[in-house]
Subunit: 194 residues, 4 copies
């Protein structure tokens, strides 16, 4: 076993692996023993890095929810149309759907099993982070950006939970059309008159 020099580096390594494992089983179906075995360490080592299972969940969610979103923004140019910008988001969610479904599952576990204080702090931060990404990426006021954000969340949730899966692109397409028209109309007409 190699001596680990960077304590934090190694902790992140464990968290990453845990996230992957979690996507198959869920917080309560992964025991600390299983987890340790899967990660190739002893339970003692796990507890050396994380004081409790709850803490592990919290740190893991914290890390997972801060996933770099620069990949989205990088695909957007300053003079891109709204339609294109939204398409980039839709594509990103579709291409990473499994990841976002895991985040949904995880967020429910996090809701149930973390301290409400910790939950509030982490979720508020995550909310801002994603919110900002939508605002920046779509170049819209926060409220409108949030509408797109929420629809995509709803789509991910729906496809996770209702198994007779709806086609992602078709539904997204409807939303994209209505969203872009709406924004265009708003900006032309002043407010939200037609």
């Amino acid at each position: 076993m190699p001596k680990i020099i960077d304590h934090d580096e190694y902790r992140k390594h464990l968290l990453q692996k845990y996230f992957e494992l979690f996507s198959h089983k869920g917080y309560l179906d992964v025991t600390m023993r299983q987890l340790a075995a899967e990660l190739g360490v002893s339970t003692g080592t796990l507890y050396h890095y994380f004081p409790s299972k709850k803490d592990l969940l919290e740190q893991m969610f914290h890390m997972a929810s801060r996933r770099d979103s620069s990949a989205v923004l990088d695909q957007i140019q300053d003079d891109d149309s709204l339609a294109h910008r939204l398409q980039v988001f839709v594509d990103y969610v579709r291409d990473n759907e499994k990841y976002f479904q895991d985040i949904v599952l995880l967020s429910i576990d996090f809701y149930r099993f973390s301290d409400s204080q910790e939950f509030f702090t982490v979720m508020t931060e995550a909310d801002r982070y994603y919110g900002n990404t939508f605002v920046e990426g779509l170049q819209l006021e926060p409220e409108l950006a949030l509408v797109a954000n929420i629809f995509l969340n709803g789509l991910v949730y729906h496809r996770l939970v209702f198994p007779e899966t709806v086609p992602f692109d078709e539904l997204a397409h409807h939303f994209q059309e209505m969203f872009v028209s709406y924004v265009k109309a708003r900006h032309e007409g002043g407010d939200n008159s037609p």
Copy 2:
């Protein structure tokens, strides 16, 4: 305890109470003993009605997801506009938000802890039931009705999980506007040309 003659009636009574209890704690935080105590019966009696905890979850979710939606449809007249029809749905979700949040939480537990066969069967049915309600209520083709359904799910989920709560009505309003405009435009123009 009044003598319950109707076995099924009594079972539903237990399931209803379990749903209430569950909404506070979650599947794994309600033990069979607690549940029995709360319902005023012995664990033995509980097992007399439900062969296992998993089964209880399944029956309970089945019942909960079939909640009568006639209340929504009853508020809609044949000649109501789409805008009004959608407003009825939005109002219904807003007024029963806690219930729908519980359904979200429950659906995740159900996803995690039921047999996938059972999950598939029950969720498919629930999906159809809600889908039909939207189709009937909005008088739209399934795909479009589903877009509204999904947005409202997303809104419920978002407000459950992100604590710096977004105002329900404001967001819903944006969606309602864009949705109605979009549908109107579609029906006027033939397909989805602007």
Copy 3:
């Protein structure tokens, strides 16, 4: 396995057995698993009767420290001399030395591992109980009775802990002599003049 009718009766039965076991091993060297095995029940059953190991210790000490002392008092007649009365106590302690040593060991565990509130309550009661027995048995004022009580405690403790065991009777004899003389002198001379 016979159905136990009297819950409390059975609890006492378990406590009694636990005390015997404890005398060999000590609070921390008897695991709940071992204890259950020794008592012929499952760990679950143990926890059915006692909410925690600490609670088990507390209930057990409570029971052990209330051991009936009527056996001592029964051997004393109203017109017995002080010397005789003290002899009865000395004999009783000598004949039950193992039990009293266990109480000493147990009281230290109790000191260490119980809640201080519970400790205070139980020990105060035990103190009064033993104190009263000495007062009644010796027919002396509390303070003097306590001197005898304390000496006998010291003797039990000393013989428990220092293995080159001092002869019980010889040491007790010295104390008995000095104690009886002292009391006699006090009562004759008014105070403590010779």
Copy 4:
């Protein structure tokens, strides 16, 4: 941390600190990690000086039980009366009551957790050491000195364990009176006739 040249000196320093820590927590409530942290060394270093926790307990008790008693003897002159000599002992125990209570607690832990061989050796030596101190200090035959020793042990134990604390001096006073009278009478009358 100053460089300690003398290995043994350093070991004693660690043992001393351990005794202090122990007096608050008890053998089993002080983990090796805590202990190391408190002493400002690593667990590795601790194990460099002491092969095991049990060994640490043994060495520590060995050291603690050999506490220099010259302080007592120094306060006694050759021509002091027995009453005065005993008073010196009583005062010494009262003034160091906390230390003696710790020794009582420690002796029970030592009884429970050391090898019986080691226990026997160390306790026998401690017994002799304290015994001698009483014999020298009181200038009495061993058996009588032991009676005083035992009473004082009993007093320390009683006040440790029974919280409605008895007044030290009052009880000691009775014992001192009876002890001195008894010894005087014995020496006057030849044996132990009145």
